[in-house]
Symmetry: C2
Subunit: 279 residues, 2 copies
């Protein structure tokens, strides 16, 4: 059962926020969906946007500015939450921002106590697509996926693990290799345990080295992003794409930081990139 | 002294949030300023945006989507806060959202205890323009003004009281006549006292009937706005413009509500309207 939390007319379409009880997380989950005006007449392609640390479905929905271009191009724009939430859902023991609530990392946790609710991989890969197909005027044969930071990692890894599902993949300032940065090491240890063999299914570069492929990849990265060298490390993704022959367009955007001002500036390019692939 | 709270590269320009101690309010005040890329070479026109109840300088800055068009058109986009804030600043005795903090109504209060800090008229009309002229690459001979709801009331009344200062005036869902709606009656009673003679300087329709004029006026109003008939009453503004010969373009936007989704949808039209007048 999909409950409408809010519905606002926007650029001739409608911005929805939905709530439903998730089978995967065992909690109520929210997601935002912009439905373009063209969807009144026909099923439209779907662009997924996976958000970064601390975010909910709200951040890109109110700050990203995607609706104007999505309305023009006729794209359904889906923004899920980033973790299970609510009573009984364990968070970070130190209440840090980079693990637990708002930091699901798009993995299926195997370590207690997180293994009960933190099934964000299956939620995004399996459960939510079924809900969208059943309830929205979506053409699921035409999907694209993008995301920011932790959500950029999510987008790229989900696309790599599900060949043929997405016509197009892009990312804003993605975590290139969780195995090789403090955010990722903390999250993967906490959700999956210390054995790094299990981490490779959640690392863009490891997935590529293990033979997974996407057709091509667009990445925008702010040159003034404070997380650039410590956490994001796009050079690792560039090297993996180079080794494997995946055509990567990596655009270093001088002066831009990790904020939604960066995303809002370049989101139009990404929507047009995805729409062209889904035409 | 103007202190930079934050600075983010955005659409080739820069989104600033500034803080300064205000002579008028006796408190620290924040305002947001988007400076377009063209301002690196020459002083640029200024568009003021006055926000509505509950808002700070942040709402339109993160939700309005004005920067993209302001960058294209070369406009400096200024978003002030809506009231004084901080220790010792009196709020609404009942902690309501429609008086006191976040609800300055762009008046100079005369009633204690509000008369000490609530000088939003003088702050916006006199103090802040001086700060902007002194510190930003602004061409103050080319200014336009707009706003939302309470800030639409602010924009129209400030333009009416300052003939010749603004090349262009517009509003999103403005309170047309504070004298004739519960929000306005509560605010004007609280800030100015029960004598309604003093209210006329803060009422678009009364100012027009008392002989004040603007060249023309653009207003967008959502048809599904829950405040339309109880608080906003655009028909009162339409009648005053009709009586006085002010050319009013009042666009009723079917299905749109009072939210920033409505503003984001139509803000491009307003920026182009102002830029054409300031060319």
């Amino acid at each position: 059962m999909l409950e409408i939390v809010s519905q606002n007319r926007c650029f001739g379409g409608a911005q929805f926020v939905y709530r439903h009880v998730s089978r995967e997380t065992g909690t109520p989950m929210r997601f935002a969906a912009f439905v373009p005006p063209q969807a009144e007449r026909e099923r439209r392609p779907v662009l997924w946007y996976l958000s970064g640390l601390t975010c909910t479905e709200e951040n890109v929905t109110v700050k990203g500015g995607a609706q104007r271009v999505a309305a023009e191009l006729g794209l359904i724009f889906i923004a899920p939450d980033t973790s299970p939430r609510g009573e009984g859902v364990p968070g970070d023991p130190q209440n840090a921002y980079d693990f637990g609530l708002g930091a699901g990392f798009y993995v299926d946790a195997t370590e207690p106590p997180y293994d009960k609710n933190y099934h964000m991989r299956s939620y995004i890969e399996t459960e939510l697509p079924g809900i969208i197909e059943a309830n929205l005027p979506a053409d699921m044969s035409r999907q694209g996926i993008t995301g920011h930071s932790m959500g950029g990692h999510g987008a790229i890894t989900i696309a790599l693990r599900n060949p043929g599902r997405f016509r197009s993949v892009s990312a804003f300032a993605p975590i290139a290799s969780p195995i090789h940065c403090p955010w990722g090491q903390k999250a993967l240890t906490g959700y999956l345990g210390a054995d790094q063999a299990g981490w490779r299914a959640y690392d863009s570069c490891a997935l590529i080295d293990d033979g997974h492929r996407v057709g091509r990849l667009l990445v925008d990265q702010g040159g003034a992003d404070t997380f650039l060298t410590t956490q994001l490390k796009p050079e690792l993704l560039a090297a993996a794409c180079e080794r494997s022959g995946i055509p990567l367009t990596l655009r270093m955007q001088e002066g831009y930081d990790h904020s939604y001002y960066f995303i809002a500036t370049f989101i139009e390019d990404h929507l047009r990139y995805h729409a062209a692939a889904m035409a």
